[in-house]
Every structure is written in structure tokens, then in C-alpha cells.
Amino acid sequence: MHPFIENQLLQTRRQFFGSQGLKLGSLALGMMMAQEKKAHAEVVHKPLFGLPHHKPTAKSIIYFHMNGAPSQIDLWDHKPILKDFFNKDLPPSVQAGQRLSTMTSGQARFPVAPSKFNFTQEGKCGRWINAELLPYTAKVVDDIALIKSVFTNAINHDPACTFVMTGNEVPGKASIGSWLAYGLGSENNNLPSFVVFTPRFPDGSNGQALFTRMWSSGFLPTRFNGVALRGTGDPVLYLRNPEGVSASDRRTMLDTMQKLNQKELQQLGDPEIQTRISQYEMAFRMQSSVPELTDLSTESKRTLEMYGPNVDVPGTFTHSAIMARRLVERGVRVVQLFHRGWDQHSDLPKQLGNQCKDTDRGVGALIMDLKQRGLLDQTLVIWGGEFGRTVYSQGTLNNQTYGRDHHPRNFCMWMAGGGVKPGISYGETDDFSYNITKDPVHINDLNATILHCMGIDHEQFTFKYQGLEQKLTGVEHQRVIKELLL
């Protein structure tokens, strides 16, 4: 083949997984992988020239986005002194005239709602944590670097979610997963480099919307969109043949079609025709290998038990968690789990309990599972929402229940593995978990740090769009938080 065409082919083969649909995570592994390895030494998802900029400490990321904003005060940011302020007004000096969401800005008073949960110190590091709601996460706190001083620009869900994922409140920018897929490609030729799960969330929780823009490629080519693996129906859209069409019928159809396509290629010479021929063959292989890949029967009983009872139910959080491990194990670059229902404006204690119950075991199991397999060292795990929640109560406040409004000024996120210092806590807030008193970490800083772990200098990682060298980390803040890193 002509060297130029060959090169073209290589380029277009990168377009593997276009914009949507590759659902259930583990694509054609086993058989297909072995086959591909033998047949081609080529890399489907190639990294950009010059990347990584430096030696990465993580090869993959798994990012738990707890959508709606989990309350930092009730899970991580322990403020025992608040007991003395129950139902007392938040001192004006704390609030200091800062912007409030209009959901509570009209409230006559801002009564302090201490967390009704008992915090305990867990792990060798003695991390304060709400182990009542997070018993499994409590077991892995020694692997976790907690950041108590994350802050963001946005005060409402939509812009804040867009901001945390794309570094900008305005829709249209590329998501962090797409940036990583674009820059680093992936080691797996048969899976997309960026996979997304949107697991179910508890009934009765306040489910805010998700937006495909949180995993979309924005201005980057669409092939870097996150591919959402579906929890119901075909894991990959349109994977199954229609009823009455067997695999061999499909083969007959493809044989005819490919002969005709080959003839067209001879006539017109357009390399895109060759690409299409290859893509149909890949599609056919996927039809047999995807089902094998979602099969959990190769997992040990012990592993499955660790994840808990719903691990084999597609669409649950814990199923998505084990799939995340299987994906990074196979070299997929980015896996994101978007779990909804964390927006507790009222009835927080009960709803937060439901949310934690739905997710805690899967999160804890994933960390342990990765660690046992020696994967945690090369996988960066991130956990967090889009902002925090207020110390003052929204709506009813008594010793049983309360609600909390949006709070962008500080919230907690954590990272584990992939070059992050285990068992540490970073940043401090005031007694009301209302203002940062030490070591602020802006979303841009956090994203810069994530890129750094993946071997990327965020300053040099740009894409020209609308006349600007676009960066994930925007134009302000952006500091790699070296204190968090090994």
C-alpha cells in the first residue's frame, strides 16, 4: 500500500469510537485483543506527539462525580464546635455579605445546622469521617488524600457541573476526559479511551440533571467524546442484530457489501472507503466480543462479595464500579461515574444516608480491589461533587432533620493512588465550614494536578479554538498542588 494511504488509514482508524454509544464497558477484550495484538502492532488511540510531557504517576483515572453536591459538613469536614450553635444565627462576620443562591437569600435568618452524625477517627492516619454513612470508605482512608479546601466559581448546578468538568461555566468547551483521551490516547485498541457510566440513583433522592457536555469533546474532534456504556438494553447502542438475523446472516451481508466497497475503492481511491471497510469489520467483531466482556463470571467470588449484592446488576453503581476496574485493567484511559441525587435542600440526613448506602461499598471495594491487584499505584481515583453545602439550614431545622443550600466557597474532594500521598489531609476551613482558612484549591488547580499526575503540563496542553489557545485549566488560579503528590 502507498505509504501515504497507510498513514491516512492509521489516522482514521483512531476514529474508532465516534460520539456515542459504546456502552458496556468492556469491549472486545479477550479474543479480540489477542487477535489484534498479533495482527497489528499499530496503536488505535495514539497519544499526541510530544506527550506525555513528563513521566506520569498515573496511567488511568477513575473519577466519581457525585452530582448535586454532597454535604462536606456531614461527611468529611468535622466541626464539633457547631453543636454549641444549634439553631443560632450564623454570625454575620462569617457570611460577610457573600453571594447566596436566591433559594435562601430571602430567608429571614440563617440558623446553623450542626451535622447530626457522629464523626469518628479512622485508619492509621486518624482521619475524622462520618463512618456511620461511609463505613467502607472509612476502611480505606489510609489510601486517600482528602482535600478540604476545594472551591469553585459557580453557585448553581448547571454552570458548576460544566465548570468542574470543562474548566468553564459556558457550554461548548472540552471535558477533562476528552482532553485526556485527546492527549494520551489509550493502550487498548478495542475499547474507547474514555468511558462513562450514569448509574441509577436512589428513588426519592433529588436528582439533578446530567448533561452530555460533561463528557463531551466540545471543540475537540467528536471521536474524543466519552462513550456512555448503557445500564439497560444493549450495552452498546445497536449492537444486536435485528430479530431473525443471525451472525452468519450478518456475515453473508457483510461479505457481499465489502466486495462492493472494495470495487468502489479501486474505482475512486478514496482512503475513507478503506476506513469504512475496516469499521464494519470492527463492528462485526464487537458483536461477538462485547457480550463476553461484560460477563463477570471470570471474577472470583471473593471479589464479587467485596462489591456487594448488586454487583451483577447492570446499571447499579456497584456494577459500574467493578466495570471501571475491568476497564482500567485493560488500558482504558479515563472512566467516569456520574452518580446523581446529592442535592439535599431538605431532609438531608435521610437522603444523604440513602445516597451513601448506594455508593459507599462500591467506592471502598474499588479502592481495595485496585490495591490488591497492584493497580492503585497507576490509577488515580477522584471523588467529589460540583460544590459544597451551607452550614446554615434551609427550611425545617430540628434535631432530626435539616436541609442545606449550595455553597461554592469550600467543599471536600479526595484523590487516591496514582502518585497521590496516601492518608493525608490538605487545606483548612473555619469553624463553620464556610470559608477557607488555609491552602485553597481551585477547580483549575485540581484539574492541573490531575493532568500533572497523567504526565501533562497543563500550561502546554492547548488546542486552538475561537482564536484562542484553549486550556482545560482556564486563565486564572491553576497551580499543580505538589503538596498532594508523592
Binding site: 460520539s19 454509544g21 443562591s101 436528582g207 467524546n225 466486495k259 475513507e272 464487537m286 502546554q460 482564536g467
Partner: protein, 1031 residues
């Protein structure tokens, strides 16, 4: 190799290549120098930011000395030019760009700069800001385009390819102009026509098809960012499909493009604006919007205006204005002040900052569809007739006006009871929240008076609401009352009475004041009435109307009883007041008439309305007084109410029907301005709450100045629109012509069709672009004429065959030594399979349709309370409408759109991607829509052709590809067909399944295995690479 190199250099535009290979050319600032400065220098030495007081972005600036006193550039003297000294410096402190920027110039780039200064450092304004050049083509139409292209090819030692065959041409034109493949009949007509102008006539036929508008419009809708939902947060439905239909109609009637632009930007400001011109302004209502609770209104006033401004600059000027939101644009000469002066045109939008998740957020216009008009007329007539009947009956009633009684009755406390055993007739009663209303008698519960009471048992917040009761006027000293029964062991936290005037903000709470946290505390919105009433007995609770902010004369028409938890019994609910019947308009005709004198009544006919308006002092004729009196008795008198009630209830039903009908009239959002414009400011660092310098509406200084229609007042959006299409405007026409070129040839003459600014690419054929732009402008912006001009060029008619040589010389086909070959767009792929199968619905316009879609596309991302959370797939024709009519939900686009690169319409998209993925392969093979279409196409083959496999294969090729298969192709297809036939004959169960995919029925009397096998054949051909490309 040398030849290849030359080609790359020529094509490269902004790419800098060795100049040593070619004889010393004069370097061009725009082509050779600006890209270097722009990439390496402007960030610090550009507009707004000028490190060391040096700016390199304009000639006046760069020959001036900087802070150091030394001149950056001395024309013809590189040796004394600081720029040269600094870029060749080796010391860290001296070298430019500084090492901290992590940008380094290559040696080639340094030498180029040096050479350019040596050649005299000639400066050029960025090409697209220069006036459109007056170019004479080397040859006349229809050869004008080719004369430019051929000249360029000749320079590169290249030439056109041979013409494509006629079938290919037909299909190419048909897709370009209508988005569909030709019909068999169209194919036969064209192939038979041997006249010299057959090709032109064929183009004309497609230009006249209504499908032309549908194809053209979808490209514009990418620019307008049209969709059917708001896009943010709830992402509820937004109704503005009339705008989409307006775009289609505008193309179909070939509206001059300058008018097309003016009506979209400022249709509302045109004198005597028509409905269509108002609909056109929907362009500026296509931005994403939010209704998210907690959002700050001022922020969204700002953000909506920014969205509209940025979209304006990109859509019409092809410039990216977004940067200037925060700071002076460092690359394009648009300052922040320029930007905010444009923004001032959009800042006073009349639509609310937050969309309230409404279907039709005002300003809107209603669209009257013919059938609906007719229905409305019918109901109106019915209402009129019924009113007459009421007057007739009322005139017969016995009534004595208390005001005319000899002994005037005394003022007394009256008591109106609204609930005794039932709610007022005609009112609407419901529970919100809570279980349905429960009425109990003495056996089941307790009753205070009459036979029934209301009982409500609930663990949390629960409420009984009564709405739309006949209006009640609050009297002097009016007091609301209700009887309530509570039990010790089933106590609620609190109970509340609530009344509706123009809103529900009148509440009285007994018990835990904060348990029902509605309304601003300690205002009339939530009044604290103290502890719960005593238990174990009926207690009358009362609250003076005035305490709830309801003064004498206020009108209420609803009430509600609310509780938090427990069991509450309610009975006898109403109002008391001090009334003198002779002065009470509800009882005295005279009192009422005096009160109404001077008012207009739309319910009364013209003559009667005049009498009422004139009042009892003027109207003295007995007959006339009787007429007014009948009207009063029929509609307002409480004393005769019971006698007229049956008729009144019927009237209410009719009126309600009329309201429902009016509400069901579709509408569309339009753009209008506030009566008093907002003051606009440069917003510092793009923050909504940091206003800087005040600005007036104006256009950027780099362009020819804005001409105001009235120099004394501030510039209007209409001035702005007229400025856009004025002959001096250098960009508008270039931008549009370039986009049409892209549509036809796949790539624009300026490849970055969304950015003609300094960061965009240079045009491959600048003279051609300018000639087309001026020709388009001077042809009264005639789009059909332009399309025909492009399609009749020889360039367009070439074969798209690619040779290795051509790929090497011109991989992207920018020089057009071969015809364009493009993967079909998402809509074309879907429409085409519907069209060839005969399923396509011809219906145009209207609300977005919901075709086949796998489950769980909307649901996993949708907000719980969103009205677009659950996908409601259409049935019947709704499944088969053209894709331009498919409902677009921004946060979860349909798979056929996302898989085939349709933008999600959150922001403008000037150029779509064309990806090629295995997910597309799965989609085309297995999607129900595609497979059903294959099945219906198979039916056509069996029915429309003689019973001969070969003939059927030929027909299939005719239908899908507008050509006949070669002998070799027929053999290949036949071989596959025979295999499928054998297989499905042997497996009738599989056959019966395959022919039932999709909703449409299959034709009776067909042989099932045969239909199954032909379905596979159709599926094969519909998946061909040739089928999904415009070849």
C-alpha cells in the same frame, strides 16, 4: 518529492516552509509574517496588553519606539531592528519570546522575519478587514469560477479531472440541493435528456422543489443554534419551531439574503412588522437559557446578552468575539469596548433573564392555524348565543333593588359561606400535595353543620385547594373564618388558611410557624396566628382580611386549607363583612351601575357596553335601563344568582373551552426590546457584577462606521442590521459565500469557515472569494443564483476519483483538481433511507417529531421534574418525517444525530465533523428505523419489478444510487441474494420475524422468505459506502 514540496508550500497558507526551494518571493505580511507574530508575539505585544509599551499588531505601533527607546522594526534595516536582535539573542534575559512562555521560534521563522524587514517591512491590514476587492474574472459566467481555479491549478502544474458520469452528477446535485437521492423518474428524465442545457434544467428543477428549503435551512439552523429545549438545567421544551419553518420558507421563496439577515436581527423594528418578520427574530431567542432555582437574575441578563453578541459576530462577521468579553482581543482588533458596544444592541432584550422552564417565555407571538381559527369562531358564536339567552331569561326575573326600597335596610354583618357540604359551583378543587379530597359525614367523622365536613389525614405537608370560584369583593372589616376540629393524639404541627387574590401570598398559620415554610416570614405572606386551637371540639378560627394584606375592594377567588401532619377536620368556611345592601354592588343594581360607569365590558355587545359606560345619570330610557338591568342580573347579582346559575355554569364551560383552545394555539418566541433600554457597560474581566466604562450601541471601530437612521437618538438594532448588509461591509458577504461554498464543495475557500479573523486560515483563492462575495452582494443577495453558479462550475462536475498523485499533491482537495466527495450528513443519511423505502412523510413544519429511539437516551440524564425526561416515541407518520423536523433535546441528542456528528446546538457550529466509526456501522446495520426501511424497500422491489432477481437488483440500484449496476456488481449481489433466499426459505420463523421489524405493516400476499431475503439485500445496499457518500 520536489513537486510535492512546492504544492504544500502553496497550500500551506499560514504554514511556514523553507523559502530556499523557490526563487526569492516577496514576503507578504498577511501570509508570511502575521501568523508568526500572532502565534508568538501578540499575546504580550498585542492590543490591550503591550509589554514594554510595544505593540506589534499595527503598523503605526510597530515602527514606534518601545519603552526602551529603541525601534522594534526599522524597515529595510534588520540589523538595527530590535525585533531581530531579540529573537536571535541567546541570553535568557534578552531572547524573545521569553523562555517562560515555552514558545520558541524556529530558525526558518527567524529568517523569514529578517528577510521581510530587509524587503522593506511592508504592512497589510488583515485581509478580511480590507474592502472586498473589485475583481474581474478571466472568463465570463458560467466559466468565471473555473477561470480562477484553473489559473491556480496551472501554476501548480495541475489540471481538472474528467467530468463525472451523468448518474453521479445527478445524485450529487440532488443531494446538494434537496438532501435526498433522485427518484427513478428523475433519473430517467435526466438521462434521456440529451439537450445541451439538460444539466442546467435539472438544477432548476431541484431549486424549485420544496425540499430545497429543507436542505438549505438545516445548515443555517447550525448557525442559529436552533433546538426544541432550553438547554440548561431542566432542559424543558421550548416552542419556536415556527422560526425553523420560517427559515425553510425563506429559502424556498428565495428571499434575498440581505433581507433574510435583516429580518432575523431586527424584524421587530421594521415598520409595520409582519407576523413573519416577528417570527424571524426568533434567531436571537435560540440561545440556551436556564430556569434553575437560585440563579441570579442580573448574571443571566448579562450572559444571555453575551451569548447573543458572540453568536452575532460569529454568524454574520465570521469573527470570534468571545475573547473580548473579558479583555481586549489580543489577536483581532476588537477591543472590549467594541464588544460591549455591540452587546448594547442585545442587552435590553425584553425576555426574562430566567426562562421559568416555560414552553413560551414571552415575548411571543401566537400562530393561528386555519382549522384552529375555525374552531375558535364556532365557540365564539356559541358563547354569544348563550349570553343572549341569559339576558332573555334575566329580563324575566323578579327583582327589587334594595337601593330603591322605600325604607332603606340597615347596614348589617353578613356572612357568606363558601364551604358547607360542598364547594362553590364551578370552582376547581384539588389536593396539592396530598391524597384526594375526603368528605366525611357524622358516622365516619364529625360534622359541625350541614351533613358533611372535610377531613384530611397526612404525615407531612398536605393541602385542599379551591380555585376559580366566583369573585368575592373584600368589604370593610371583612373577616375570614372556618371551623376546625383537632384531636389530642393526632395533632398537626400547624394548620394554615390561605387566600388567592392575583396570587396566593395571603397566609395565616396556627401552631408551629416554620413547619410550613411558605412565603416570606413575618409579612402578610405568612402571618403568625399563635398556637393551635383547642382540641376535642369545633373551634371557629378567624383572621381579618386586612391582616393578610387584603384591603377593602380587593377581589379574591380562591382559598386553601393546609396542615402539616396529623388529622384535621374543616367545616363551614367563609367570610363576614359589614354591608349595606343598598350600597352593595352584589345586591343593588343601582350601586353596581354607579360603580361600573365609565368602564368597558367586553362581555356585552357594543350598544349595551355603551349604556353601561354612560351610567345611570345619562341613561334614562326605560327600555335601555331594562337592558342593563338584565345584564346585571344575568352576571353579577347575588340575590338572583340561584335562578340564573344553571345557565351561568354552562357559560363557564364554554368560556373554559375557549381558553383551552386559545392556550393550545401554538406560539413562537420572538425578540423584542424593553421600552426603556438598560444602560450598558464594559464588564470588567467579563464579570456580570463589575461594570466599567459606560457604552452606547455601536459597531467595532475597525469597520466602516454605523449609519444611524436618526442621528439624534441611540443606534438601533435595525441600524445594526442595515450596517451588516451595507455594500461597504467587508465581511458579511464573504462569510456567507464561503459557507455556501463549503456546503457545495465540502471545505470553504477559507477552511476555518467560523473564523475569518487573524487566527483563522487564509483563503485558498482570495480573488475568487472576493469576486463571489461582490457578485453575490450585487445580485441582490440571490442565493438560488449563487447555488446555481457553484453547481454549474466545471469544478463541481469533475469526477471525484482520487489518484495517489492527487492525494500527494493535494490531500485535502483545496485546489479542486477533482470533484468533491463527502460523507452525507446525519439528516441526509436518515432521510435517504426513509425516502428510498417510500416511508418518508411529506408533511412540512410543526412541532418536532419523535422517531424511533432506543430506550434510555433521555431518561438517564434527564432532570426528575423535566418535561423532556421521558421520550414519547411517535406512531405512524410521526416516525417518518424528515430529520429537520425531529425534536432536538439539547442535553441528550438523538443517537442518529450524535453518531453522525450533528452538533448539539448549544453554540454555533460553522462546520460539522465527518467521523467514520464502528458505532456508525452498527447503527446503519441494526437500528430499527434503518432495518424497517430496508424491509419496505424490499417490498418495493418485489412489487414494482417483474419477478426476476436481476431486474430487481437493477431497480434497487436505480432507487438507491440513481444508476444501474455493472455486470460484476450484479453477480456479487446475486450471489448474496441466493444465499439469503436459501437460508430464509429453510427458516420460516426467522423470515417471519425479520419482516416484522418496525411499526409499519408489510404488504399482504408477499412470499415471506423472499421478502426476508430481499430485506437483507436492501440492508446490504443501504449500508454501502457509496450510499452514505455524495460521490
Amino acid at each position: 518529492m520536489k513537486r510535492l514540496f512546492f504544492a504544500l508550500l502553496v497550500l500551506g497558507g499560514s504554514t511556514l516552509v523553507h523559502t530556499a526551494e523557490v526563487p526569492k518571493p516577496t514576503l507578504s505580511f498577511n501570509k508570511d509574517i502575521r501568523p508568526i507574530l500572532s502565534e508568538y508575539c501578540f499575546a504580550c505585544h498585542g492590543q490591550g496588553k503591550s509589554k514594554g509599551e510595544l505593540r506589534l499588531d499595527s503598523f503605526a505601533h510597530f515602527i514606534k519606539a518601545g519603552a526602551s527607546g529603541e525601534k522594534a522594526i526599522v524597515p529595510s534595516h534588520p540589523e538595527t531592528s530590535q525585533v531581530i536582535t531579540r529573537i536571535f539573542a541567546t541570553e535568557r534575559k534578552m531572547v524573545m519570546p521569553p523562555p517562560s512562555t515555552k514558545k520558541t521560534l524556529t530558525n526558518d521563522q527567524k529568517e523569514t522575519l529578517q528577510k521581510w524587514i530587509a524587503q522593506g517591512a511592508k504592512y497589510e491590514k488583515h485581509w478580511s478587514f480590507e474592502p472586498i476587492a473589485n475583481i474581474k474574472p478571466l472568463d465570463k459566467t458560467p466559466y468565471a469560477i473555473d477561470s480562477f481555479l484553473l489559473e491556480r491549478l496551472k501554476k501548480n502544474g495541475m489540471k481538472y479531472s474528467s467530468l463525472a458520469d451523468r448518474s453521479t452528477l445527478l445524485r450529487r446535485v440532488s443531494f446538494t440541493l434537496t438532501g435526498l437521492t433522485p427518484t427513478v423518474q428523475e433519473m430517467e428524465t435526466f438521462l434521456k435528456d440529451k439537450s445541451p442545457d439538460a444539466y442546467e434544467k435539472m438544477i432548476d428543477r431541484y431549486l424549485e422543489s420544496p425540499k430545497y428549503g429543507e436542505e438549505m435551512a438545516r445548515h443555517w439552523l447550525d448557525i442559529a443554534r436552533y433546538a426544541d429545549t432550553h438547554g440548561l438545567h431542566l432542559d424543558n421544551e421550548r416552542q419556536m419551531w415556527a422560526y425553523r419553518d420560517w427559515v425553510i420558507a425563506a429559502y424556498n421563496k428565495n428571499q434575498p439574503f440581505d433581507r433574510f439577515i435583516v429580518e432575523q436581527v431586527a424584524g421587530d423594528l421594521l415598520p409595520n412588522a409582519t407576523l413573519d418578520q416577528l417570527i424571524a427574530t426568533g434567531f436571537n431567542r435560540c440561545n440556551v437559557s436556564t430556569g434553575e432555582g437560585g440563579s441570579i437574575s442580573e448574571e443571566w441578563v448579562f450572559r444571555n446578552a453575551v451569548d447573543r453578541t458572540s453568536n452575532f459576530t460569529e454568524a454574520f462577521l465570521g469573527l470570534t468575539g468571545g475573547c473580548a468579553v473579558c479583555h481586549d482581543h489580543k489577536f483581532d482588533p476588537i477591543t472590549a469596548k467594541d464588544y460591549y458596544s455591540l452587546y448594547a444592541f442585545f442587552h435590553s432584550a425584553a425576555d426574562a433573564a430566567l426562562d421559568g422552564n416555560q414552553l413560551l417565555l414571552p415575548p411571543i407571538v401566537k400562530l393561528a392555524l386555519p382549522q384552529m381559527k375555525k374552531n375558535a369562531e364556532e365557540i365564539n358564536n356559541e358563547i354569544l348565543a348563550h349570553r343572549m339567552k341569559m339576558l332573555e331569561q334575566a329580563s324575566k326575573l323578579t327583582y327589587e333593588d334594595p337601593a330603591l326600597k322605600p325604607a332603606k335596610s340597615e347596614t348589617k354583618v353578613t356572612e357568606d359561606v363558601w364551604f358547607e357540604d360542598e364547594f362553590p359551583k364551578g370552582s376547581k378543587v384539588f389536593a396539592s400535595p396530598g391524597k384526594p379530597l375526603e368528605l366525611v359525614d357524622n358516622k365516619k367523622g364529625k360534622v359541625f353543620s350541614g351533613t358533611k365536613a372535610i377531613r384530611r389525614i397526612d404525615a407531612g405537608l398536605a393541602q385542599d385547594v379551591c380555585e376559580n370560584m366566583a369573585p368575592v369583593t373584600i368589604q370593610k372589616d371583612s373577616v375570614f373564618f372556618a371551623y376546625v376540629y383537632l384531636q389530642d393524639n393526632k395533632l398537626p404541627k400547624s394548620i394554615m388558611l390561605q387566600y388567592h387574590s392575583t396570587n396566593w401570598l395571603h397566609r395565616a398559620v396556627w401552631g408551629d410557624y416554620n413547619a410550613i415554610a411558605w412565603g416570606a416570614a413575618n409579612t402578610t405572606e405568612r402571618v403568625n396566628m399563635g398556637p393551635l386551637p383547642s382540641t376535642g371540639k369545633w373551634v371557629r378560627i378567624e383572621v381579618p382580611a386586612e391582616k393578610l394584606g387584603l384591603k377593602q375592594g380587593s377581589i379574591i377567588n380562591g382559598f386553601a386549607m393546609t396542615q402539616f401532619g396529623g388529622t384535621v377536620l374543616w367545616d363551614k368556611i367563609g367570610i363576614t363583612g359589614m354591608k349595606d345592601p343598598s350600597a352593595d354592588p352584589a345586591k343593588s343594581f343601582l350601586a353596581w351601575w354607579k360603580q361600573q360607569t365609565g368602564r368597558d365590558f367586553s362581555e356585552a355587545d357594543k350598544d349595551l357596553a355603551l349604556l353601561i359606560k354612560q351610567g345611570p345619570e345619562v341613561v334614562k330610557a326605560k327600555e335601555q335601563i331594562a337592558k342593563v338591568r338584565a345584564f346585571y342580573l344575568a352576571n353579577f347579582c347575588s340575590l338572583t344568582k340561584s335562578e340564573i346559575d344553571p345557565l351561568r355554569i354552562k357559560l363557564e364551560e364554554l368560556t373554559k373551552k375557549k381558553t383551552t383552545l386559545e392556550q393550545s394555539l401554538p406560539g413562537t418566541t420572538i425578540f423584542r426590546e424593553l421600552p426603556t433600554p438598560r444602560d450598558s457597560f464594559v464588564m470588567l474581566r467579563g464579570q456580570y457584577n463589575k461594570p466599567g466604562e459606560k457604552v452606547e450601541p455601536n459597531t467595532p471601530a475597525i469597520f466602516p462606521p454605523l449609519k444611524k437612521s436618526d442621528p439624534k437618538v441611540r443606534a438601533t438594532r435595525l441600524d445594526l442590521a442595515n450596517w451588516l448588509v451595507s455594500p461597504e461591509q467587508p465581511l458579511t458577504s464573504r462569510v456567507m459565500v464561503n459557507r455556501f461554498w463549503q456546503q457545495v464543495f465540502g471545505t470553504g475557500l477559507v477552511k476555518s469557515s467560523g473564523d475569518l479573523g487573524t487566527q483563522g486560515e487564509l483563503p485558498s483563492h482570495p480573488e475568487l472569494l472576493d469576486w463571489l462575495a461582490s457578485d453575490f452582494r450585487d445580485s441582490q443577495w440571490n442565493v438560488k443564483k449563487l447555488m446555481k453558479l457553484l453547481l454549474t462550475s466545471e469544478a463541481f462536475q469533475q469526477s471525484s476519483r482520487v489518484t495517489n498523485e492527487l492525494i500527494l499533491l493535494d490531500p485535502e482537495n483545496r485546489l479542486l483538481a477533482r470533484g468533491p466527495r463527502i460523507r452525507l450528513d446525519a439528516e441526509q443519511i436518515r432521510d435517504n433511507i426513509l425516502f428510498t423505502s417510500g416511508l418518508l412523510s411529506p408533511e412540512m413544519g410543526g412541532r418536532g417529531s419523535m422517531p424511533y429511539q432506543p430506550s434510555n437516551i433521555w431518561e438517564p440524564v434527564g432532570f426528575t421534574g423535566s418535561n423532556t425526561r421521558n421520550y414519547k416515541q411517535d406512531t405512524g407518520a410521526g416516525l417518518y418525517r424528515r430529520s429537520i423536523y425531529v425534536f432536538i433535546k439539547r442535553t441528550a441528542p438523538a443517537p442518529f444525530m450524535a453518531n453522525f456528528d450533528l452538533p448539539n446546538r448549544e453554540a454555533l457550529c460553522a462546520k460539522r465533523e465527518r467521523s467514520n466509526t464502528p458505532l456508525q456501522a452498527l447503527h446503519l446495520m441494526n437500528d430499527t428505523q434503518h432495518f424497517e426501511a430496508a424491509r419496505k424497500l424490499a417490498e418495493r422491489l418485489l412489487i414494482e419489478s417483474a419477478n426476476d432477481p436481476e431486474k430487481r437488483i437493477i431497480l434497487a440500484y436505480n432507487i438507491i444510487l440513481a444508476r444501474s449496476p455493472s455486470a460484476e456488481e450484479t453477480t456479487i449481489v446475486m450471489e448474496g441474494l441466493q444465499k439469503h433466499l436459501a437460508r430464509y426459505k429453510a427458516d420460516p420463523i426467522a423470515s417471519s420475524k425479520i419482516i416484522r421489524i418496525g411499526e409499519s405493516k408489510f404488504r399482504d400476499g408477499l412470499n415471506e422468505p423472499e421478502l426476508a431475503a430481499y430485506t437483507m439485500l436492501a440492508n446490504t445496499l443501504l449500508n454501502l459506502d457509496e450510499t452514505v457518500n455524495r460521490n
